[in-house]
């Protein structure tokens, strides 16, 4: 992710917003007082809003990236579960003397019939054009490990997304407050003149 420009990071002294960074995502600064904040970063309202908007866009970009990763993982998990299901079925048939008869797809829309007799092993596609033969037990263990890993990654990812969304919310609230503060200031400046009208 692009590192934030120096102007977007004010000194973190102004608030107790807790975490300032999580896995490369910079934390948003909570603004206690708009006037103090503007003085601190040394920008006028327009530039400050521009900086905040830019920050928001950066967050949105990261959010899209994380959401894509989340979708991938969410698709991967049921896939692994399916594989586990098949291996379990093969294992259940083992030793019963019965063959597992299955119709399988040879090409799209074309099926053939297979009879799987007393198989001890399955081949797992490991990716990168590599397939390896495993005993059913080993295959189950490996798949289970992959499943646990995928679930753990998903959990971390969901936490990342939550953190990110908090930063988005903080930034949005800050933008609204800076904007309102500006409107308020203008009104104060104008109000003595328009009071009588």
């Amino acid at each position: 992710m692009a590192s934030p420009s120096a102007t977007t990071i004010a000194s973190p002294s102004s608030s107790g917003s807790g975490i300032t960074e999580r896995r490369g995502i910079p934390g948003a600064q909570f603004v206690e007082d708009v006037q103090t904040y503007l003085n601190q970063i040394g920008l006028d309202v327009t530039s400050a809003l521009a900086v905040l908007q830019e920050r928001l866009q950066q967050y949105k970009l990261v959010e899209m990236k994380l959401l894509a990763q989340q979708r991938d993982l969410q698709a991967k998990i049921p896939d692994i579960e399916k594989c586990l299901d098949v291996v379990a079925t093969l294992q259940a048939k083992k030793g019963t003397g019965e063959a597992l008869v299955a119709d399988f797809e040879v090409a799209e829309g074309i099926y053939s019939r297979a009879s799987i007799e007393d198989s001890d092993s399955v081949c797992l596609w490991l990716g990168a054009n590599v397939m390896l033969e495993y005993s059913c037990e080993e295959a189950t263990a490996l798949l289970q490990k992959n499943l646990d890993n995928a679930k753990a990654s998903l959990e971390v990812l969901v936490a990342d997304l939550q953190f990110l969304r908090d930063q988005v919310t903080i930034t949005q609230v800050t933008i609204a407050r800076v904007f309102n503060w500006d409107v308020h200031q203008r009104r104060m400046r104008l109000s003595p003149a328009v009071k009588d009208s």
Binding site: G16, E32, A102, F104, A114, V173
Partner: protein, 126 residues
């Protein structure tokens, strides 16, 4: 989350945290709605499957496991579908429960935030 009309209500870190929490809950609420819809669909599909199974005369039916259609006896398929139904029903219940809790927490936060900011804050959708 827009504040209107240049009102000058002080926003504290605590308020910000409440707003964050509300945002998170709102997000989760939408996720849950999708998840519940999916869970309901798979429940209905299983229901349909077991109904079809009752009607069929075949002793051996093709049951999809992974990518292949295994030839499995009707009784076994029945048992497996029952088991799957149990899992999805439990899952659905869990999701519904979570949704209720999310809705309750959101209502609570709305009370607090509207109490402080009145109409300077908008927590409704659209």
């Amino acid at each position: 989350m827009q504040q209107g009309g240049g009102s000058e209500t002080e926003v504290t870190w605590e308020d910000q945290q409440n707003i964050n929490k509300f945002g998170r809950l709102n997000n989760r609420f939408h996720e849950l709605e999708v998840e519940i819809k999916v869970a309901k669909e798979s429940n209905e599909n299983l229901e349909d499957a077991s109904n079809e199974l009752i009607l069929t005369d075949e002793d051996v039916v093709r049951f999809q496991i992974g990518e292949v259609f295994a030839h499995v006896s009707k009784d076994e398929v029945e048992a497996r579908i029952e088991q799957m139904k149990e899992v999805t029903t439990k899952n659905l219940e869990k999701l519904e429960e979570e949704k209720d809790s999310v809705v309750a927490q959101m209502a609570e936060l709305k009370k607090i935030l509207y109490g402080k900011f009145n109409d300077s804050i908008n927590l409704e959708e659209d």
